[in-house]
């Protein structure tokens, strides 16, 4: 039930973020010549963020799989022990 509530709240927040973004940007096509002229956003920072995001996501996912595996292995060991005691 807690998971479902968390999911509903996350979806509501996501919807709010999308609506907010639409208010600011709208569905306006990029005009010719609008792209790089006057652009001050540093590209190297974006590249670093992109590569960093990949590494962080991969490491987080590996940690999550390791934690889940440990939990299952512990449960397996406990159940085997109970079965052995039972004979």
């Amino acid at each position: 039930m807690n998971r479902i509530s968390a999911l509903v709240i996350t979806l509501c927040l996501l919807c709010c973020a999308i609506v907010q973004a639409q208010d600011k940007e709208g569905f306006v096509p990029v005009a010719a010549g609008e792209n790089l002229a006057g652009e001050t956003l540093p590209g190297n920072r974006l590249v670093a963020i992109a590569y960093g995001a990949i590494l962080v996501a991969l490491i987080a996912w590996i940690a999550s799989v390791a934690a889940r595996s440990r939990k299952v292995e512990d449960e397996l060991a406990a159940l085997r022990e109970r079965l052995e005691k039972r004979g």
Partner: protein, 229 residues
């Protein structure tokens, strides 16, 4: 968690590739129109390709489960679906970072971007259906996986069929020779990395299957008689 030798070999190659790729990406020549941000291409495209192969593997496993009742196929589909969500998420993070500089905005409701978002959402739906779908959840999820994989050719061909601002698929075969090492090393590293992650996730699914079998055996033996839920 036991990993067999092909997985260990893949792990070594993935680690070497992931360590080497940034050096090649930094030293690769700059693209004149987009500047340094074009370098996101070197990992955005390999990740997208990995997402595609993951979606196909998931659909393959789902077909094996639906038509031949293969539990191994179901486990493969579950592992691949989670990785499709992971790599799909990364595609949807790296793409807008590139777009912000190249197009001046984070997101466009372009057919390539929208169909990629759709693919990602379908595989999230797969994970929810499999986990919370009750008795028929696995079969429902398998159907979603096949439906999701059908979106892959649409994503790939979208830039050729419809008018779009996303770069065409022809950028890879026509890549400048000086840019190729960075791209292909990154591509292979990500592919090897994917198979390592898939191996680890499959090992978890096998352990869960063993646990389920053991619970059934324990229940048959009356181990839980008298236990409170």
């Amino acid at each position: 968690m036991k990993l067999r030798w092909p997985y260990l070999l893949c792990a070594v190659l993935a680690a070497l590739g992931l360590a080497w790729a940034p050096t090649l990406i930094v030293t690769a020549p700059r693209e004149p129109m987009m500047g340094i941000v074009q370098k996101i291409f070197y990992f955005h495209v390999p990740i997208a390709w990995t997402m595609f192969q993951s979606a196909f593997l998931c659909a393959g496993g789902a077909i094996a489960f639906l038509f031949w009742r293969s539990e191994r196929g179901e486990r493969l589909a579950a592992a691949a679906a989670e990785l499709t969500v992971l790599f799909g998420g990364l595609v949807l993070i790296t793409g807008p970072l590139w777009a912000r500089k190249a197009w001046g905005r984070w997101w466009e409701w372009d057919v390539r971007l929208t169909s990629s978002l759709l693919l990602w959402m379908i595989f999230i739906a797969y994970l929810f259906a499999r986990r919370y779908g009750g008795m028929g959840g696995k079969r429902l999820a398998a159907g979603l996986a096949i439906f999701g994989a059908a979106d892959v050719p649409l994503i790939y061909l979208s830039v050729s069929i419809w008018r779009t601002i996303h770069p065409k698929t022809s950028v890879v075969p026509t890549l400048d020779p000086a840019m190729r090492p960075a791209f292909w090393v990154s591509f292979l590293a990500m592919t090897f990395c994917y198979f390592v992650l898939l191996g680890a996730r499959l090992a978890l699914e096998r352990s869960r299957a063993r646990l389920d079998d053991l619970y059934l055996k324990a229940e048959d033996l009356g181990l839980f008689d008298g236990d409170t839920a």
